[in-house]
Symmetry: C2
Subunit: 209 residues, 2 copies
């Protein structure tokens, strides 16, 4: 693809993602996305055949961004404790939810909007994205000595998703703080103890009689 | 309102709720709701002025049903343990999520669909509904001796919301089981100990010198 066409495609994808995030999949129409990306509808349709295809491509691009961010995060926190991992996850959630016009997780929103269409390509992408986030968290947990790392990651991830739902619905950011405290209690009891030098157990030979 | 009109109104509300639940707020149109409730569009509009008003009324009716169900549940489990309360909550979620065409929480879905419209009457109803569920759970927890009953209720409720999100997106019911186990760990350490007879403390008079 020539460089110009690639840049146009990128601009449409970014605008599409912003519009979908703002108004949801159903209420956005292709005219609005064309206007927001400063292309004609004809140009838009030369890149994407339908709104469905555009949504899937916009989410796909977003997954790649999320994967890059995830990798950065993993290397930054590779030396930290379970408590720090949980704290930085919920601190990020807290900051994110404080943004103006914040509307929760885009993937969750799309999955709920298309709840009656499990075969929609956007549903598959949401599944892949959430699966990736959970396994990434599990990997981090395993690296700092958490035993049942995948189970703990699933639990903590559900607390994070639940916090997003409740902060959005109640308009009350303290749900993120409550979730962080619960998450810490759930992980802190699951750290593999450092192997310690065992004291020589009492044996018959050392303690006669 | 005459009896016939009340019955028609009820039928429209039930059909509207079913259709909104199935396809989401945005994709359902008033013609479909009129058809599903076997009334003309003219009759429908004699009861409700707009789709917005109809959605608000349908959710309102649903909240009343939920409140009645909640009361029944409260009286049934008034004598149970924290563990039993948590188990029955997640068992209900597990059964519910196994229904065909299950699409998660209707109130959450509506709040996400209308994430950019915090002033929409349906958003206020979602807020009221979730608030009611959390305080009802807190009340049950307090009744069985959980100390920080409201904090625990908020935590457990977020696990339940997170489980709904993950079961829906991943199509994997085991998230409900994982959430139930985490919820039990969170509540079990927070039960007020039964007051025990204190042993007489050693005092100067009873133990001279």
């Amino acid at each position: 693809m020539p460089r110009d066409a690639r840049q146009t495609r990128r601009r449409i994808l970014d605008a599409a993602y912003r519009e979908f995030r703002r108004k949801g999949f159903v209420r956005v129409n292709v005219d609005e996305i064309a206007a927001a990306s400063r292309v004609t509808k004809r140009t838009l349709y030369s890149h994407f055949r339908s709104k469905d295809e555009l949504l899937a491509a916009a989410l796909e691009a977003q997954i790649e961004l999320a994967a890059a961010a995830k990798q950065a995060l993993t290397s930054q926190t590779s030396g930290s404790t379970p408590e720090q991992i949980v704290e930085s996850l919920f601190a990020a959630l807290h900051r994110w939810s404080g943004k103006t016009r914040w509307s929760g997780s885009g993937f969750t929103r799309v999955a709920m909007e298309l709840a009656d269409l499990p075969g929609h390509p956007a549903r598959a992408l949401a599944r892949r994205h959430k699966g990736m986030m959970v396994s990434s968290l599990a990997e981090k947990f395993a690296n700092v000595g958490i035993k049942s790392a995948l189970e703990r990651a699933r639990e903590i991830w559900m607390l994070a998703e639940g916090a997003i739902v409740m902060v959005l619905i109640q308009g009350d950011a303290s749900y993120a703080t409550t979730a962080a405290e619960a998450a810490k209690r759930l992980v802190l009891r699951d750290v593999v103890k450092q192997p310690r030098l065992r004291r020589t157990p009492p044996t018959q030979s050392s303690t006669p009689r």
